[in-house]
Amino acid sequence: MAVASTETTTLNNVEAVRQTLYEALKSDPRTLVLGEDVGARGNVFLITKGFIEEFGAERVIDTPLAEASIVGIAIGMAMEGLRPIAEIQFADFIYPAFNQIVGEAAKTRYRSNGDYTCPLVIRTPYGGGIRGALSHSVSIEALFYHVPGLKIVAPSFPADIKGLLNAAIEDPDPVLFLEHKKTYRSVKGEVPTGHYTIPIGKADVKKAGTQLTVVSYGLYVHQALDAAQQLEAEGHSVEVIDLRSIRPMDRTTILESVRKTRKLLIIHEDNKFGGIGAEISAMVVEDAFFDLDAPIRRLCGPDVPAMGYALTLEEEFMIPTSRMAEAMRDLVAF
């Protein structure tokens, strides 16, 4: 990670997104932002507040309510040499754009054998726990991580957000940038000032340990770290890996960790069946079979279409830290 300075400031996640976007628009005239309500309203989370005044309506575009064209038009811009940062207001609204993301953006370089490229960023807030109900809470990474040609990142610490968003903007290929909305204001951290990037495709060991590997991303990394601290107090050493990058995924870090601890727990908010955990499990069994001292366990969202609005339904869907700690304890004792 190339850091411009060792000075840091304290930011929460939404501020990290905002500042990074601001710096990008300021420093690179090819960049622009487009999406619903990103202009005058400054985005529903105020991420682009003030941008249209500073950068002009030409570079901060309030698009019509038409997700497919938000992405499609951005693809055209990218092919023509701009660096568009498209926003889908909530990940739950991304489905009309599926055609353009999977059928066009992911294939642009491949089908033209490199004649055209698509340096596009699609940012979208995802995830639940904020009474968002059926259409403001979903996780979408499993729908897209299957697609070669697309990159997907889901950082949930402010320093990671800045580094990875910069990397995404500078990446010559399309990047889906997932922001867990519950962490927007609840997660704060030190962020180096100045420009830097974090390579896409590298996970981060947020806590080192020896008895169990926990792999997670998004909101649940934070809870997993809390649970791991509890276990630390109980005398158990748990390693927590923040994936940060869903595609490409850092298999080296995962395998190294599992070879050390011999036990793996995957925690993600998305539904269990066909989620990211399934791919990680298969990969680990394939490559580290003789290092496993326990079955791989996945602690994931339930297999229902979405979390309900009622608090009890949301709480049933979301996994409390205590359940994570319990799962960790079980595996450590196995």
Binding site: L32, A74, M77, G81, L82, Y110, D115, Y116, P148, G149
Partner: protein, 340 residues
């Protein structure tokens, strides 16, 4: 040569003799290459070909209005004549048909799904109307960068105007007055779906009014007329006056592709009834009458074109397929470590 005294003066819209001859040549190359595709398929040499017979007039006319090195074309898979017209060599068409490694897309794409950044030709998708939003994005870039001498020509068939993304594209272009011309090559058929089942209206330009951009209809079998209309629209676009929807009516004489048997949905009589719309004999006749070419010229032209197409066919056929290892290239920039 002189034209007969009573031949009406040709409204050339500024086109020179040379340009008119070039348009005729384009149409003949297009037809020859097109037919060659079907011939190779029926010979069992290539598995698939699309045909554009009937679209020659639109392609020749629109190509003339296109400013090479400046404008960008967002074509669809039936635009072989248009792609040839803006500078694509016939060899590329054959490389695409034979899926050779030397093809710009490395043999990855279906035939007629070209890509050519140097010529300003966006890579073609099989997904109908997918290129429309891209065309709008390109036009936006021109406007943002204040490149006032550049415009985008976005072409598609009648079926595309039913896709949601087509509506979103036209809408956005109109809101922002973007330098893009939406050229609908309306051959009245979307595979087997006739126009009446595709839309409740008779003319596609009626959709333009709904979005707030001008709509212009033109006879697609008249290449000069097409040129005039498309040129005017492109000039409007470059001048910052915004997008235009151009509807060029023509007829699709062949099946949708070599995999389509159109006898299942239309009769031979119907096709023959529309033969008068065939732009190639019409344009030949027009140029003959105007004394711009002679019968010998046409014969020689056809002979020369056939020889050229034969040569590039042989050349393309002799070249190799891409290596299997090529499958893995260009997924991302640089080397891509597959998650094996």
């Amino acid at each position: 040569m002189a034209k007969a005294i009573d031949t009406p003066a040709l409204e050339r819209h500024g086109l020179s003799d040379e340009q008119l001859r070039a348009m005729l040549r384009n149409m003949i190359v297009q037809r020859t290459v097109d037919n060659r595709g079907f011939q190779l398929n029926r010979q069992g040499k290539i598995p698939f070909a699309t045909g554009s017979e009937g679209h020659e007039g639109i392609h020749a006319g629109a190509a003339q209005a296109f400013h090479r090195g400046k404008d960008v074309l967002a074509p669809y898979y039936r635009d072989i004549g248009l792609c040839l017209g803006i500078g694509m060599p016939p060899l590329d068409a054959l490389l695409s048909m034979f899926a050779r490694a030397a093809d710009i897309s490395g043999g990855r794409q279906f035939p007629n799904h070209y890509t050519n950044k140097k010529l300003g030709m966006l890579s073609v998708s099989s997904i109908i109307a997918a290129q429309c939003t891209h065309a709008v994005g390109v036009a936006y870039a021109f406007k943002l960068r204040k490149e006032h001498d550049r415009a985008v020509l976005c072409t598609f068939g009648d079926g595309a105007t039913s896709e949601g993304e087509w509506h979103e594209s036209v809408n956005f272009a109109a809101i922002h007055k973007l330098p893009v011309v939406f050229l609908c090559e309306n051959n009245e058929w979307a595979i087997s779906t006739p126009r009446e089942h595709q839309m409740a209206i008779k003319d596609i330009i009626a959709k333009a009014e709904g979005y707030g951009l001008p709509g212009v209809k033109v006879d697609g079998s008249d290449p000069i007329a097409v040129y005039a209309v498309v040129n005017a629209a492109l000039e409007r676009a470059r001048a910052g006056e915004g997008p235009t929807l151009v509807e060029a009516k023509c007829y699709r004489f062949l099946s949708h592709t070599t995999d389509d048997d159109d006898r299942t949905y239309r009769t031979r009589e119907e096709i023959e009834r529309h033969r008068y719309l065939d732009p190639v004999p019409r344009f030949e006749k027009l140029l003959l009458e105007q004394g711009i070419v002679s019968a010998d010229d046409i014969a020689a032209l056809k002979k020369e074109v056939l020889a050229e197409v034969n040569a590039v066919t042989d050349e393309a056929e002799a070249l190799p397929y891409p290596e299997p290892a090529e499958l893995y290239a260009n997924v991302y920039e640089g080397t891509h470590e597959p998650w094996l």
